[in-house]
Amino acid sequence: MTMLGTRLVMLTGGLGFLAVPLLFTGSFFKFLLILVFVYTIVSIGLNLLIGYAGQFSLGHAGLMAIGAYVSAIVSQSLATIPTLVLVGGNVWIGMVSGIIAAGIAGAALAFPVLRLKGPYLAMVTVAFGWVVWKILLTWTSVTGGDLGITAIPRPRVAGHIFNVTDYYYLSGVIAVVALLLQRNLVVSDFGRKIRAMKFNEAALASVGVDVHREKVVVFVISAMFAGCGGALFAHLQNFINPDNFQFVNSVFFLLTILFGGPGTLSGPVFGATLLTLVPELLHGAEQYRLLIFSVLILVTLFYLPHGIAGLLPTRRSQRAPGPGSGRGTRPREPTDAVPAALSIQQSASDVQSPIVRIRGVSKSFGGIVALNEVDLAIAPATVHALIGPNGAGKTTLVNIVSGLYRPDRGTIEILGIETRLSSLHDAARQGIARTFQTIKLFGSMTAREHVMVGCEMQSGAGMLDALLRTRRSRDEEQRRRAIADELLTLVGLREFAEAPADSLAYGHRRLLEVARALAARPRLLLLDEPAAGLVASEIEMLARVIDRLRASGLAVLLVEHHMDLVIAVSDTITVLEYGRVISRGDAETVRNDPVVVEAYLGTGGEHELSAVAS
C-alpha cells in the first residue's frame, strides 16, 4: 500500500467512525460497534501473544473477566466517596485497577506456565479460564455468583454521564490507541525479540535474551489488553455475570486472530469486526447460525491461511527479496576494516590470561561418556580449532562452554574467575556467543533483523520508550540498524540485508548466524561447523572473516571438518576422540601426528581419493 493509500483509508475510516452516531440514531448499532471495539482490544492482546510471539492462550476470557469484575467492584466500592463520584473518578480508577489486576493475574499465570510449550501451554490456559469462571460462580459474596454484578456505573466526566454515543467514541478511541501501541511494540526491539521467539528460542537465548522473561512480559501485556477490554465491557453492559466469560469466549478470541490474520497489525480489527457482525446479521437464521459459522471458519482456514489481512497487498520492502534477489550470487567481498561494532571488547585483548579456561570437564549422557577430563584454554586474539571424528564430543564441548549443558565434573573459568554458566543467555551475557551446527534462524525475518536481534546486549531503550515510540527508541533503532549493516558487510551479506532469511542459500545462512553472534559483542565466539555447505571460495572468505575477528581481539573456538580452513586459520588445534584429547598443538604438529591421521584424517593425501572411478 502506498503512503497516500494508507492515509486515504485512515481518513475514510476516521470520518466513518465520527459519522456513525449521526447516521444511526438508535443505540443498537452503536452498541454493536462498541462490542467490536472491545473485542478488537482483546484480540490485539492475543495477537501479540499468539500471532507475533507464537505462545498460545485459550484462557483470555478469564483474564477479561478479571478486568471486568475488578473494574466493576472497585468502581462500586469507591462510589461511597461522593466527591470522587462527582468527577467520575471511581469508574476511571476502577478501569485502571481492572487492567492492572488482569496484568498481575497474567504474570502469576505466565511465570510457571510459560515453561511449557504448545499443547501443554494451551491446556493450562484452558484450565485457567475454567477456574476463573468457577470462582466467579461460587464466590458469591464478592462476585454475586451466577447473578453477577448489576448496576455497574457508567463513566462520567464532571457532571456528564456517558451515554451510548459517548461510550462509542470512548471505546473507539481506546481501540485506536491499542492499535497504535501494538504497532509501536511490534516494530520495537521488543517486538523483534518476540517475533524471533516464535521461530527459535535457542537462537534467541544465544545472543543473551532471557527468553522466559520476555515470554512473561508479552503475556502480561496481552493480559492487560484483555483486562482493558473486560473493563470497557463491564461499564458498557451495566451488568456482568460469569456467562459472559466462558471457554467459548476464549475460543472466540482465538478465532478472531485466525480469521483476521495472525501476526498482522490489522488482523484483530478484521477478525473482531467480522466475527461480531456476522452472527448479528444471521439473526434471522438462528438455528443455522452455528453451522454457517463453522463452515465460514473452515473455509477461511483452508483458503486464507494468513487470514483476511493476508489478502491485503503487502509493502514491497516486506516481501520482495533484496536487491539482486539473492539466489545464485556470491557474497560480496568483505572489506578489510574491522568494524567499530566489534572494537568494544578490545580491553579483553590486553589481558594475557585466557578468556575461557576449562579444567577436567566431563559429561555423559546415559551410559555414554561424551567428554572425559578435557582441559582447554582459549586466549584472546587467537583461533583455537577443535577437530575429531563425528561423535567425538566436539559439539558437547561447545554446548558446555555456551551454557547449554552443565558439566558433570570440572570447572569453567572466564577471565580467571570460576563461573557457572546456567543457560545460553547467561553465557552470552558473560561474553560467549555461538553459532549452531544445525542452522537456527528466525524464519522469514530479514537478515538485518536477525543481526538487530543479536544486538540485545547493547544498551537498548526501555519498554515504555518502545510503547510510546519515543525519540530515544527511534535513535536506538537507528544505531542498531547501523551496527547490523556493518556486521552484514563484514560477513559479505550486506546486499541481502532485506532478504528473508528463509530465502537465503544454505551457506549464506551460516554466515548470517556468524553476524548475529557477533552482534552480541562476544569476547569468545564459538563456531560450530561454520564451513559446512560452503564452496571453496566462500570458505576462503570465511577464513578472512575469522582472521579479521582475531585481529580485533576476539577469541574464536572453531569446530570444523574442512582441514584446509582449520590449518589456515588456527593458532592451536585440539583433537578429540571418544571424549578425550588425543593431540594438541599447532597445525603442523597435529597434521603430522600419527594418532590424528589414524583416528581422523585417514591415510591418503589431503585432496585425493585413493581409488578413483572408471
Binding site: 520482495a320 527479496p321 534477489s325 539473492g326 539466489r327 545464485g328 550470487t329 556470491r330 578489510d336 577437530i387 575429531g388 571424528p389 563425528n390 561423535g391 551446527q437 544445525t438 530465502s503 537465503l504 542459500a505 544454505y506 551457506g507 549464506h508 561447523e529 559446512a532 555447505g533 560452503l534 564452496v535 571453496a536 571460495s537 566462500e538 570458505i539 576462503e540 577464513a543 578472512r544 582472521d547 579479521r548 582475531r550 585481529a551 571438518h561 574442512h562 582441514m563 584446509d564 580452513l565 590449518i567 589456515a568 586459520v569 583416528a599 581422523y600 584424517l601 585417514g602 591418503g604 585432496h607 585425493e608 581419493l609 585413493s610 581409488a611 578413483v612 572411478a613 572408471s614
Partner: protein, 249 residues
Amino acid sequence: MSSALLQVDGLGVSYGPVRVLDGASLTVGHGEVVTILGSNGAGKTTLLRSIAGLVRHQAGHIQFDGADIGDMPAHEKVACGLCMVPEGRQLFPDHSVLENLELGAFHRLRAGEKTAVDRDMMDVFELFPRVRERLSQKAGLLSGGEQQMVAIGRALLGRPRLLMLDEPSLGLAPALVRSIFQSFVTLKNRGIAVLLVEQMAWLGLGICDRAYVLEGGKFLIQGTRDAVRSDARVVEAYLGQVKSRGLAR
C-alpha cells in the same frame, strides 16, 4: 530412443518471484557417476528435488529410462528406481536404524519382495559394516557419519537405478568422507548410476565420469571429469585451497 537413463531438458523452477532453475538440461547414462557443482543458491538442491518430484517444475521435461516422469508423484518415482539421499540425512531420529532402512524398501515390502529386500540389506551391510552393528539403536543417536551411511542404505533398499545424493559430505570427518565417497565407486560397479551434488569439489570431481557446474539456474560448464577439473573457472571458484593466514598479523 535416447540411451540415457535420466534426461532433463530445459528445467525451470521458480519459488514465487524468484527463478531458481532457468532451463537446466543434463543427462546421466546407465551406470554413470555425474557430479554437479555450484555455489550456494545456484539451485543444486532444487534440481535434485524437482527430479525426485518433491518440487514442481514450471517448465521442461524429465525422462527416466525413456519414459516421461515429469508429473509422476515422488513415491512412484522411487518405485521406478529413482532414489534420493536428501541433504542433512533426514533420518527418522526416534526410529531404529533397522526401521529406517526398512522404510527405504517400503514399496517393495508391500509388494512382497521380502527375500530380495533381505538380500539388498546384506549388500548394504557389506558396503557399510558399521551400520549392522547399530541396527537396534535409535537413528538419532548415531554420529553424523553413521547417519549418512544409514541414509544411503535406506535409499539403496529402494533398489535404485539412479541414486541421487545431496551433499553427502556435509559435516563429516575427512576419513569418513573418503570412505563414503569410495562406496559410490562400489555402487557404480554394481551398475547403479549416481547423480551427486557436492560442495567439496575435489571430492565430487574425484569419483565422477562427467560433471556439470550450475550457476544462476543454468549449467554453465559441463564435460568429462578431466575437462571440468582443468577448467580455469572451476579451479578458481571451487578447487581453490584456503590460503589466508597472516592477513591480520
